[in-house]
């Protein structure tokens, strides 16, 4: 009886994951309509919010006088998050048309069914962040702390796409039909907006201030805005990193448990 060594197992996982991510990226190329909203919405959000709420930067205590510097990282994070839950939609579609059952019957490690789509999600997120960043610079956004600040934006976006992908896949594996789509989107939407999405904590008043203070999305947004509101500081970074790592572990575990529940 032959046994598989850990390195062989990891190799098989990565080969399967790579094939699945290639498939997801091919689907994006063949059906751009599935990806374009994920790209168009953050661009729209960045420009529209910056224009509509331009005057809010004049409120004492607002950390920048460029509204787009405040709203562009939010738009990027929303785009990354919705791109992540998009994996949940794809999984539901695959389950409804039977393709996912064929994947489950294949002799591939289960984890590759999560890692593969996740890799494709990272590639799409990188495209979204770069395009939104360039367009926003065209509309007046100005990085304030160079490459390190931009790296914070990319880290926040990639981390958030991991969190939302885990959440989306976990919900998809449990609901197994499009009923889960509304839950994925709504929870994400609420989590993102009940934070310092629109204004910093010191400008908020009332109930939202309390909710936003304890919402981990506030820390993630703070991380993403590091490169646009002044210098990058450890105080502004660590909370976001902890939130991303903690939520990623939780949601990926949620997705894995959901995947296992399909076999039961």
């Amino acid at each position: 009886m032959s046994t598989t060594s850990p390195s062989e197992f990891a190799g098989t996982t990565m080969r399967s994951a790579s094939a699945l991510s290639t498939r997801a990226l091919r689907n994006t190329r063949r059906m751009p309509s599935t990806f374009l909203p994920t790209l168009a919405m953050p661009i729209f959000q960045s420009i529209a919010f910056a224009g509509t709420f331009f005057a809010i930067t004049k409120v004492p205590g607002f950390p920048t006088d460029r509204s787009i510097n405040w709203y562009m990282p939010l738009a990027v994070c929303m785009g990354a998050a919705f791109g992540g839950v998009g994996l949940g939609f794809s999984a539901i579609k695959d389950m409804e048309n039977g393709f996912f059952d064929r994947l489950r019957m294949a002799p591939t490690p289960r984890r590759s069914l999560i890692i593969g789509p996740l890799i494709s999600c990272y590639i799409r997120t990188l495209v979204v962040v770069t395009v939104v960043l360039l367009v926003s610079i065209g509309f007046g956004a100005r990085p304030t702390s160079g490459v390190v600040g931009l790296a914070m934006l990319y880290i926040a976006a990639l981390g958030l796409s991991t969190v939302s992908a885990g959440w989306g896949l976990g919900i998809a594996f449990r609901f197994r039909d499009m009923r889960g789509a509304a839950i994925m989107q709504l929870t994400l939407f609420l989590t993102m907006f009940l934070s310092s999405a629109q204004t910093p904590l010191n400008v908020m008043t009332g109930w939202l201030h309390t909710v936003a203070r304890y919402n981990p999305a506030t820390n993630i947004l703070r991380l993403s805005r590091q490169g646009f509101l002044g210098d990058v500081t450890w105080d502004g970074v660590w909370g976001g990193l902890v939130a991303l790592v903690g939520l990623s572990v939780l949601t990926l575990w949620f997705a894995r448990r959901g995947l296992d529940s399909l076999d039961r």
């Binding site: 919405m41 529209a48 224009g51 005057a55 409120v59 400008v203 109930w207």
Partner: protein
């Protein structure tokens, strides 16, 4: 003899009008009942505007002291009109989508095969949307009152806002009905939603035009949604004035004439194509 024929034809015309009216009322009732029986269709257009109002009040509460911001006691006073129009816009997309669903599932063609009023199909749907828009206006106004909002126009102001809400619903639903009749696809009507959302954001729904600058201000100045909102907003934050009432009523009517004409043309084309 000519006089008898004339009396008979007038009586027949009156009879036809009465039947047409009854059919239109029945169609309106059907569209309202559909909303009542499927709360899932209604809830987003009720909840999301309230969520944004609550969020805006906490996020932008301090903005009311900025130069150029209208004199208000609370951000809620400012945001009520935007909240109402937002809800009515979302509800109107549903109304158009329901008409498209009628086409998709064949109900529309069964009505065509029946000796029913063609106009009643459209007017009934728009009347249902108007009833829902008026209800949303009243609901949002009453619900936000205990949270510190005040309506300077008083009860009469609320009544005028309710009428305005109903007219705005007809105006927007007219465009959605035109899209539904043109395409016959509920997916296509839902596809208009992002466009509606974009128009809403590039208007004075969330922030006053006086605080905007550059291209954004120009877009908001020309955006009809800004003008739909501002008549109602004037009644809420400044009280009743002939200018505010005229804006709240006449702007929706002007847009309604355009959208209803488009919807009628699309209806005629669909009937002709059948």
């Amino acid at each position: 003899m000519t006089a008898t024929l004339s009396v008979q034809s007038t009586a027949a015309m009156n009879h036809n009008w009465r039947i047409g009216f009854r059919q239109t009322v029945a169609m309106s009732k059907r569209s309202v009942l559909a909303l009542w029986r499927q709360p899932a269709l209604v809830v987003p257009s009720m909840i999301f505007p309230l969520f944004f109002a609550a969020l805006g009040t906490s996020s932008f509460g301090r903005a009311i002291n900025l130069p150029g911001f209208p004199k208000v006691d609370s951000f809620l006073d400012f945001s009520l009109a935007g909240t109402i129009v937002q809800g009515v816009l979302f509800g109107s997309v549903q109304s158009g989508s329901a008409l498209a669903t009628d086409i998709e599932n064949g109900f529309f063609y069964r009505l065509m095969a029946a000796p029913s009023s063609r106009l009643g199909i459209l007017v009934g749907r728009l009347a249902g949307a108007a009833a829902y828009g008026a209800f949303q206006t009243l609901f949002f106004s009453l619900l936000l009152l205990p949270f510190g909002m005040s309506i300077k126009g008083g009860p009469l102001g609320v009544l005028i806002m309710v009428v305005s809400g109903g007219l705005i619903a007809i105006a927007i639903s007219g465009f959605m009905a035109a899209a539904a009749l043109k395409t016959g696809s509920s997916e296509a009507v839902q596809g208009i939603f992002p466009l509606v959302f974009i128009m809403l954001f590039f208007s004075s729904a969330f922030f006053p035009r006086q605080t905007m600058s550059g291209a954004y201000k120009h877009i908001a100045d020309f955006n009809p949604i800004s003008h739909l909102i501002e008549g109602m907003r004037d009644i809420c934050i400044d009280g009743l004035s002939s200018g505010a009432i005229a804006r709240a009523i006449l702007v929706p009517i002007a847009i309604m004439i355009v959208s209803f004409t488009l919807a009628l043309r699309a209806l005629a084309q669909r009937i002709a194509a059948q």
